[in-house]
């Protein structure tokens, strides 16, 4: 029984799928955001797996940057969500359809 890279990649794929479906299905904006974080983590896992397999530190460096940018993104995203909730408390993702064509 060897823990080959395939297992990690499979796990990452599953996490990603769960996160994607959650994003598509949930309406609470914050939960959708958390699903995005899930997807990012799946990507990080993939990066690290490949870093080990290809024996290259660049994969881990990439994860490092993803982490930082995710943090920044969360900050700004939550700021936006706060602004939205100010206008309409209790808004869900479905209430924000101003761009309907």
């Amino acid at each position: 029984m060897s823990v080959s890279a395939t297992w990690y990649l499979t796990l990452a794929a599953v996490l990603f799928t769960i996160g994607a479906v959650g994003l598509l299905v949930r309406r609470n904006v914050l939960v959708m955001f958390m699903c995005v974080e899930l997807m990012l983590n799946a990507a990080n896992l993939t990066f690290v797996t490949f870093a080990r397999r290809l024996n290259d530190i660049a994969g881990q460096t990439a994860v490092f940057f993803v982490l930082v940018v995710a943090a920044a993104e969360v900050v700004v995203g939550l700021g936006i969500i706060v602004s939205i909730y100010r206008r309409r408390p209790g808004a869900t993702a479905d209430d924000l359809h101003g761009l309907k064509g």
Binding site: L23, L24, V25, D94, G98, L99, K100, G101
Partner: protein
């Protein structure tokens, strides 16, 4: 001296431009005098150039003057330029000369018309275009002049366009012309394709390498163009209707100049016709039949201008007959004399119409000779000329045609002879009904009596051209007498153009005199018939059958079987194909775009989750693609 040749078409064109810009200011009669002077000046230049050409030795009488390159596209190079040679100068001379006289006449005829300057504007443009046509040194420039005279014909026939009949006649003329022009264009394409050029010199020198079927096609197609322009069978009905235009127009365009352009074209392409005898035969036969047809119809017409119109068709038929059998110099000779006497007859008719208060029915005229002596005498001279009585010009020119006709084919001679008798007859009938016999109109008792008429000879501006043309008709034959080898000036002058392609049956003096006598006899027969039948009577239904009055019902047939169905098709097309089909397609396309947009808009729901779904779908597709490549 030859270098001033460019002025020949330029002067009338300048007249046109000046009148276009300031015609109204010049007004009546100054505009008319300006136009006349321009054309007269062009005539003077023509004479100068003619003299210059005459000075050159007989074999080298050809001068080309290229002004600039008109078209240069790939292998096609067409210049705007002139060819001064005996044929073109002969044409230019009588065109400018007769035009100048008719311009002068028009100053008097159109005196009371409020569009006086416009008339001369069109006339000058016409003369410019006609000169361009005859002086061109390549087919395309000729075609430019060809179209130009066609368009001027349209303008001038429809000059009094408020009249429905006039505007319809103008349209009819244009349409018939266009049919011929289409054939002309196809001929041009063929010529260019086979010889690589449209320039006369180049084309004619390359004819040796062109196959005979192509040459026959070229000849026939160019003749088809001439048929449209010169009113031969089957494109002749427009000429009778063209009489709706003012009489000077009929004289100039539909007698002396425009309609002769077709004959000029046939003479110009004599190298092609020489190599395509089948085409030439077609030309001759159609010419002969048309001559007879026109003459028969003219026998029963009551409108004086229509008589002259059908007479023109008939005489043109003679010219094509001559050209078709290869007697080009005879054709040109006849064209020249015909210009004189036909213009004369038309101008005389114009005087009569003026005197009769615009009534054109010969049945309501009569006994005008003593009241309008100048008109009567000149008309009489015109009749004798066209009838072919010796010694008038028509005798010599028509005799030339008939002489060569017999040499070619006795059958054609018979047709021509019959036509000659009829010609003398119907024009005699016209003369007698108008100027002789009983007075069938009411004289004005006192001045101001509107119902009555007071016919009189016209003023000098209208009489002088009549007299000049009368003189020319009488003595014009002297330029080409066949009775002595030294006297046929015109033939010798023109021979270099026709080189060895001229058909001339050498008869010897005895044969020439025999035919001369026969021609005289035919003419006298026609005259005698006319005098016998119409000297005193004015109604002879037996000799004016309805079928001839209706011109063999040919025009009726065109209307019934071609014009009406075409109109129906046009209406059908406009209401169905255009409105539903094409408009429907365009509108339908717009509808399609709008409808597609309406449906596509539904994709933009505004919900982020839907958009994310789209992203996910796209991702799945991309992965699928990657899978197909990676495995």
């Amino acid at each position: 001296m030859l270098r001033v040749a460019f002025l020949i078409p330029l002067l009338p064109l300048a007249g046109f431009v000046i009148l276009l810009l300031s015609g109204r200011k010049l007004g009546n009669p100054l505009a008319g005098w300006l136009a006349t002077i321009m054309v007269a000046a062009s005539f003077v230049v023509t004479v100068v150039v003619f003299a210059g050409l005459f000075r050159l030795p007989a074999g080298g009488r050809s001068y080309t003057q290229n002004w600039f390159t008109w078209i240069s596209a790939g292998h096609l190079h067409v210049n705007m330029g002139l060819l001064v040679d005996p044929l073109s100068m002969t044409m230019a001379a009588f065109v400018t000369g007769v035009s100048a006289l008719i311009h002068l006449y028009s100053i008097g005829y159109m005196e009371h018309d409020e569009d006086f300057p416009k008339f001369f504007l069109y006339l000058n443009l016409f003369v410019a275009a006609m000169l361009l046509l005859v002086l061109a040194n390549n087919f395309l420039l000729l075609f430019l002049g060809w179209e130009g005279v066609g368009v001027c014909s349209y303008f001038l026939i429809g000059f009094w366009f408020e009249r429905d009949t006039a505007s319809s006649a103008a349209k009819k003329a244009m349409i018939f012309n266009r049919i011929g022009d289409a054939a002309f264009l196809v001929a041009l394409f063929l010529i260019y394709e086979r010889t690589g050029s449209l320039d006369y010199h180049t084309v004619f020198s390359h004819l040796g390498s062109v196959g005979e079927p192509s040459l026959v096609a070229m000849g026939v197609l160019l003749f088809a163009g001439a048929v449209g322009k010169s009113a031969q069978i089957p494109l002749y009905p427009w000429l009778a209707d063209a009489m709706e235009g003012p009489t000077p127009v009929s004289a100039l365009i539909h007698a002396a100049t425009m309609v002769t352009a077709g004959v000029y074209l046939m003479c110009r392409i004599n190298p092609i016709l020489y190599r395509a005898p089948d085409a030439a035969h077609v030309i001759a036969i159609i010419g002969a039949v048309t001559a007879l047809l026109g003459a028969t119809i003219a026998c029963a017409q009551n409108d004086i201008k229509k008589i002259l119109a059908y007479s023109t068709i008939s005489q043109l038929g003679y010219m094509f007959l001559a050209a078709g059998i290869g007697a080009y110099d005879a054709a040109i000779f006849l064209m020249l004399t015909h210009a004189f006497y036909k213009a004369l007859l038309f101008l005389g008719a114009g005087s009569v119409i003026h005197a009769m208060n615009d009534d054109q029915d010969v049945k309501t005229m009569g006994a005008l000779a003593r009241l309008m002596p100048i008109t009567a005498v000149t008309f009489f001279i015109g009749w004798l000329s066209i009838g072919g009585l010796p010694v008038f010009s028509g005798f010599w020119s028509k005799g030339d045609v008939l002489l060569n006709g017999y040499g070619f084919s006795p059958a054609l001679w018979v047709v021509g002879a019959l036509t000659a008798v009829l010609t003398a007859y119907y024009l005699g009938r016209a003369y007698l009904l108008v100027f002789r016999g009983q007075q069938r109109w009411v004289e004005a008792r006192k001045p101001g009596d509107r119902a009555g008429l007071k016919p009189h000879d016209p003023s000098w501006v209208m009489s002088v051209p009549l007299i000049v043309l009368g003189a020319l008709s009488a003595v014009g034959g002297l330029i080409n007498l066949p009775i002595h080898p030294d006297l046929d000036f015109l033939d010798r002058w023109l021979s270099p153009v026709f080189a060895s392609r001229l058909f001339q049956h050498h008869w010897g003096l005895g044969g020439v005199w025999t035919f001369a006598l026969i021609d005289a006899a035919l003419a006298l027969l026609g005259v005698a018939l006319a005098v016998a039948l119409w000297g005193h009577a004015s109604e002879r239904p037996a000799f004016e059958p309805v079928v001839l009055q209706r011109a063999w019902y040919i025009d009726w047939a065109y209307d019934r079987f071609i014009a009406r169905p075409s109109t129906e098709v046009a209406i059908e097309t406009s209401s169905v194909v255009e409105a539903k089909g094409i408009d429907g397609a365009v509108n339908g396309f717009a509808w399609l775009v709008r409808s597609t947009a309406r449906h596509l808009r539904k994709v933009q729901t505004g919900y982020v989750r839907n958009y994310a779904l789209g992203l996910a779908g796209g991702l799945v597709l991309v992965l699928a693609y990657v899978l197909t490549r990676a495995s």
